[in-house]
């Protein structure tokens, strides 16, 4: 499943080099690409709206851990937003698979979790993730939080 909400019109997407977008000033910029993995379609679309429209990033989405791993390997996103609680392969198992994969091990992961209360990142203490963001997230602020966690300029 793929959602390209917010992707600028007419920007061809070659993931190997980053999607090129012609800005109004006529300069080429490289758009980042984020993969959202969540079994809840509402969350996928909310996140896609937020990351696509505020962040201006290309957003891919996957409805299960397995689909997320496959998409991450083939599309090489710049970061992955991963839900912690999913049926089948849950967030922890998905993360382990991503880390172990040669094509996906380097991609930073931000965990989305409804288990941790606000500020409760301690709930997932020893996982190799760049950040933990609690659900429900604030729709205007999600992109900023992801950017801050990954050291991206916004």
């Amino acid at each position: 499943m793929e959602c390209r909400l917010g992707q600028p019109l007419g920007s061809g997407g070659d993931r190997a080099t980053g999607a090129h977008t012609l800005t109004e000033q006529g300069a080429f910029v490289v758009t980042r690409c984020v993969l959202v993995v969540d079994d809840d379609q509402q969350i996928r679309e909310l996140a896609a709206a937020s990351l696509g429209l505020v962040g201006g990033w290309e957003v891919l989405s996957a409805g299960s851990g397995a689909e997320g791993v496959a998409l991450a390997a083939s599309r090489q996103p710049d970061a992955i937003l991963l839900d912690s609680m999913m049926p089948g392969m849950d967030g922890r198992a998905t993360l382990a698979t991503l880390r172990a994969g040669p094509a996906t091990g380097h991609i930073p992961v931000v965990m989305l979790t409804a288990e941790a209360g606000p500020g409760g990142a301690a709930f997932v203490p020893d996982l190799p993730v760049a950040a933990v963001i609690a659900k429900p997230f604030e729709i205007m602020g999600l992109a900023d939080r992801v950017a801050a966690a990954l050291g991206w300029d916004r």
Partner: protein, 687 residues
């Protein structure tokens, strides 16, 4: 509810506005599913109260509560997330909360009720707001669609074109907007099947409004069988999803340009204040003013906008208005274009040079509103009359050949852009020569004139109807397939048959016509080949006795076997007569049986006497009843290539089900209206 997270009146930044818009649309789409999630919790709470909560239901409830906790806050209902969290906890640790304890169960049901209430109240105002607030009376498009991605794409594209876009997700919300504001055009998603009714109802209302609001229909269905209905209700265009926002707005813009009732006026002046003032004075009653500050772009703007009148300033930098006018007059395309001058100098020399250059009139600066408006109106009036004489065929009132060719060319160009079909029909009254010979040319002209007027009434908007030459007329129908075109012309023919015309000798005369219909791009890529194919079909219609419309076919004939499009098995002779006439009018080849046994024998077997695409099968037939005929057809494999529609007088559900189980494609209960049956038949043959 807690306060809105985004202040309602704060000037929204571009992405913030986009997110709010997207959020509003997502909320519209998901409030139903969210309600269903809460229903799961309600059912689980009920089970708790009666002490019947099983492990599976508990886990399902926990899972839904978890999802609600994750999403409600983001939708702008943080309270909802808090409640969902407490409910999740309740279901997650059943051991710690004895589910049989009344106080605990009551607390759960209270929480579920509170959650439902929270959902019904919706997000805090300001978090989910309507789309971009629209300034006063700025022109805007109204989109009725729940497709968030398309909506956002259109919004960006529209804003780049300085057009407002208002997005709603339901027909009901569209009505609320329409009650207060009139959009330039409505983009309406029409779902296939029964969901279309509500959308059609709105289209009917808008079509009746004065002036009608142009409607562009968006549809996901590759084969949109309701096209004919949509066209009848004034649909100006069809766009098939998925579609690029840019293409969608190009199509809308083209339709708006042509739908504009008034004229386009090109004003060339280097003074922006003059341009603004003129715009305000002239832009009334649907007139559009194109203001041009750079006279060097005059020619390209002229070609782009094809104005009905040009207002020129005498003295401009780089270019002299009088010289410009001379060049305009020298170009055969523009020699009739009215030109009006604005001039600060009204000395005899200046005025003389203005008229010598071919100008129609001049107005002295400073410009006075009423005077300029009157002079522009006078000029346009005169040019309208001249143009009518040049473009309209006086006998039929239709476009003349040259104008019709131009319009049809534009229609095909537009279809190429939007990937839509166009039906092109050649139409000719029946027995024209006979009428001319027997009753004189006047009666023949009368018949042709009446047909022309009827076509004008039935083909509006994007459709083109013109006189091709002699008694031959040509009709172009936007977004229509061959079958759609046949259907629409059949309606015209049925209307024509209702009337009798004076024959010039004190008597009256019935009239009919024949037509052939071709489809772009299937039957040809250009007007010439399409007309040629349609003419051939017209020839076949005439040979078959006239009074019918035939689609162009790339005929694959099986001469060894009689083929029919529709077999009618019906013992009521009067009803059969009506149906056969309606079917023949639409170009269907028909065979009629009044006995079930005869019909079954002719149709069944590996080498049947008749091969037919559809069978209209009466329930109560002599010989062999309809259900037995159907069973026979099913058993002998006929249903693999033949669609059967049962005509049943009984509204007995079990019999209908029996017929459908046996493989009937559809059923229609008697008494039925013939147009409805034809529509169902059309669907059966198209699908």
């Amino acid at each position: 509810m807690t306060g809105p997270e985004i202040p309602e009146r704060a000037p929204a930044t571009q992405p913030e506005q986009s997110v709010r818009s997207a959020l509003a649309a997502l909320w519209q789409r998901f409030k139903g599913p969210l309600g269903e999630q809460v229903s799961v919790l309600e059912a689980a709470a009920m089970s708790c109260l009666s002490g019947e909560l099983g492990a599976a239901q508990r886990e399902q409830a926990r899972s839904e509560a978890h999802k609600l906790l994750g999403s409600l806050g983001t939708f702008g209902m943080p309270e909802g997330s808090d409640i969902a969290r407490s409910i999740e906890t309740w279901f997650e640790f059943p051991g710690s909360v004895p589910s049989t304890e009344p106080a605990a169960v009551l607390a759960l049901s209270d929480a579920v009720v509170a959650l439902r209430r929270c959902l019904e109240a919706g997000p805090a105002p300001g978090v989910v707001t309507a789309w971009a607030p629209l300034a006063g009376d700025a022109p805007f498009l109204l989109l009725v669609d729940d497709d968030v991605v398309l909506a956002e794409g259109l919004r960006q594209e529209a804003s780049a074109r300085r057009l407002g876009l208002c997005v709603v997700t339901t027909v009901g919300e569209a009505r609320q907007i329409l009650a207060n504001r009139r959009p330039e055009a409505l983009l309406l998603e029409v779902p296939a099947g029964s969901g279309a009714e509500e959308a059609f109802k709105l289209m009917r209302e808008l079509h009746a409004a004065t002036p009608p609001v142009p409607v562009v229909v968006l549809t996901r269905a590759a084969r949109f069988t309701d096209r004919v209905e949509a066209a009848r209700l004034g649909g100006r265009g069809f766009l098939q999803k998925p579609i690029q926002p840019r293409d969608a707005l190009d199509c809308v813009a083209a339709i708006l340009d042509r739908a504009r009732s008034g004229e386009t006026i090109l004003v060339v002046d280097d003074d922006p204040a003059v341009l603004a003032a003129l715009g305000a004075i002239v832009e009334t009653g649907g007139r559009r003013v194109v203001a041009l500050r750079e006279p060097l772009r005059f020619w390209e703007t002229l070609a782009e906008t094809s104005p009905d009148l040009v207002v020129l300033d005498v003295e401009m930098p780089d270019v002299n208005g009088v010289e410009l006018c001379q060049v305009v007059r020298a170009d055969p395309r523009w020699e009739r274009l009215p030109v009006l001058f604005l001039t600060a100098r009204v000395d005899a020399g200046t005025v003389q040079s203005i008229f010598a250059a071919g100008a129609d009139d001049y107005v002295a600066k400073p410009v006075l509103g009423p005077e300029l408006a009157t002079r522009i109106s006078n000029r346009l009036e005169r040019s309208r009359l001249l143009r009518r004489l040049a473009e309209v065929d006086s006998l039929t009132g239709l476009a003349n050949r040259r104008t019709a060719e131009e319009s049809l060319g534009r229609l095909l160009g537009m279809a190429k852009l939007s990937g839509q079909p166009v039906a092109v029909a050649m139409v000719e009254p029946d027995r024209v020569e006979a009428i001319d010979d027997e009753r004189g040319y006047q009666a023949g002209d009368e018949a042709l004139g009446r047909l022309g007027q009827l076509l004008l009434r039935f083909f509006l908007g994007d459709d083109v109807a013109g006189r091709w030459g002699g008694a031959e007329l040509c009709v172009g129908m936007h977004g229509m397939t061959r079958g759609d075109g046949v259907q629409r012309l059949a309606e015209v023919l049925e209307e024509l048959r209702r009337h009798r015309f004076p024959d010039g000798r004190g008597g009256t005369l019935g009239a009919s016509f024949s037509a052939g219909v071709a489809q772009y791009p299937d039957d040809g890529n250009d007007l010439r080949s399409l007309c040629h194919v349609a003419s051939r079909a017209l020839g076949r219609a005439r040979e078959a006795g006239g009074d019918r419309i035939l689609p162009a076919t790339r005929s694959t004939h099986h001469p060894e076997r009689a083929t029919a499009d529709v077999v009618l098995a019906e013992d009521d002779e009067a009803l059969a007569g009506i149906l056969l006439h309606a079917l023949t009018t639409r170009g269907y080849r028909t065979r009629w049986f009044d006995d079930g046994q005869d019909a079954a024998t002719a149709l069944q077997g590996p080498d049947p006497e008749i091969s037919s695409r559809a069978v209209l099968l009466d329930w109560g037939l002599p010989g062999l009843d309809g259900l037995r005929v159907l069973r026979r057809l099913a058993e002998t494999g006929v249903l693999a290539h033949t669609r059967v529609i049962m005509l049943t007088a009984r509204d007995s559900e079990s019999e209908v089900l029996q017929a459908l189980d046996l493989g009937a494609f559809d059923h229609v209960a008697k008494p039925f209206s013939v147009p409805v049956l034809i529509k169902r038949l059309h669907r059966a043959l198209e699908s």
